[in-house]
Subunit: 260 residues, 2 copies
């Protein structure tokens, strides 16, 4: 049975998509896993980041979420050209879907119900979330076993962690769904700005010491260039610091995800 991980942060631009794509590829390529990536962000940036290896599908995530009787997520899933990696297509209609979900009974549980088959077919399922705490992110959190929270070295991203953890607490308490925090991932750590790294790193340590992952992702222009080239970091620059960091992250998490 697959472990489901939602990659979420209300703060924009902290590295949710970069982490989703490169962690998924690292789990598939270096840990030998079968990985499914679900892109529940209307921006559809997972497919842009891997456009060299992805074919656009017919059925969209919106078709599954808005169906009047339950549908199976697998109808929207397509294999990629990366060994062991499958994903859902980009879906700009998710903007309207978010609004339309507001009036559905049990709106938070729709994705969770659609994942039954997918959970038997993959080792890990990773969900890339939009930068907000609306119905789409809510569906991802309720469908997930764990949440991974990227946080870059900025005061605004640090403040955003508390908002997200507040939403996680609501999912646990009010919706009685056991969602664990897999960890806070420090991203875009820039060796040239030690002052702000120490300030934000220190604040994270003081408030969330037990949640901070050992692996931190350095600022590495190869990651942005790989995205522009439509490839994972492992295809674009396998020897880069970005590739090494995401490989280390996959190793750090694989053990925790495998545990029953």
């Amino acid at each position: 049975r697959a472990q489901v991980v939602a990659v979420a942060a209300q703060k924009g631009g902290v590295g949710k998509t970069t982490t989703t794509v490169n962690l998924a590829c690292a789990l598939a390529l270096t840990q030998g896993q079968r990985v499914l990536v679900i892109d529940i962000d209307p921006q559809g940036h997972v497919a842009s980041s891997l456009r060299e290896s992805v074919r656009i599908a017919g059925t969209s995530l919106s078709d599954i979420l808005l169906a009047h009787s339950p549908r199976d997520l697998m109808e929207a899933v397509r294999d990629s050209e990366i060994e062991g990696l499958s994903l859902t297509p980009p879906d700009k209609a998710l903007n309207e879907t978010d609004t339309r979900l507001s009036t559905r009974v049990g709106r938070e549980y729709i994705l969770q119900g659609a994942l039954r088959t997918a959970r038997t077919l993959f080792d890990t399922i990773i969900i890339d979330c939009p930068p907000n705490l609306g119905n789409l992110t809510l569906n991802a959190l309720v469908a997930a076993d764990h949440v991974l929270v990227p946080c870059d070295m900025s005061i605004l991203a640090f403040e955003g962690v508390a908002d997200l953890l507040g939403t996680v607490a609501i999912v646990n308490d009010r919706l009685r769904h056991p969602l664990s925090v897999l960890g806070i991932l420090r991203t875009r750590v820039d060796g040239r700005t030690q002052q702000i790294n120490e300030a934000i790193g220190g604040a994270l340590d003081e408030n969330y010491r037990h949640l901070i992952l050992d692996t931190a992702i350095p600022v590495n222009s190869a990651l942005a260039q790989a995205q522009a080239a439509g490839r994972s970091i492992f295809q674009y620059a396998p020897q880069s610091r970005g590739a090494a960091a995401y490989k280390a992250l996959a190793a750090e998490l694989a053990g925790r995800l495998a545990a029953p």
Copy 2:
């Protein structure tokens, strides 16, 4: 009568809040304007960025937007300690407000109606938008005369410009609201990564040549440090490249905003 500018981009982390705060301060401090900043992003990062100069108010933006009979935005406005600058308080309840607006008749026009008095009291009104195209951003676009679109030097931010301009076209055509594009602002231009600057700068030039503003904002760690210190760049590091860039932006835009 004030000119209203929405600062919007679906892509997260491109510099919407950094631009809103520092452009507003530059217009107040270097162009002698009376400026109102409206924070319609649930993250409430305008107040965090200026926390050394801001007092939290009683009435929130959600109180205004959800009122059953029209209320005046000025009930939520407070002066800051920065000469010529006023703003609305941070409002995390805007997350739920966004959902609750979905079922209101004419949901897109609520902020526009609440601005009548404010338009007579200020020279420029700037609205900081969340990283999505939901009801809050829609309200900001319909209330605005112009939209300013920050875009950093990344393929994902470049792709996001088309999504936003698509929404602007819907506001113009379907809602018959004359909204002009004040310009696309290149942000976080990093002198060390010329290759990607030329790629993204070139793509912007090819697709949106007439919309690209002359002023570009360089990557400047003083901007992030100023935010961490709760001050505008003009209070924190007035001689920095970031301060010079936002001063130049204010000069470039002041002329266009003043024109009847």
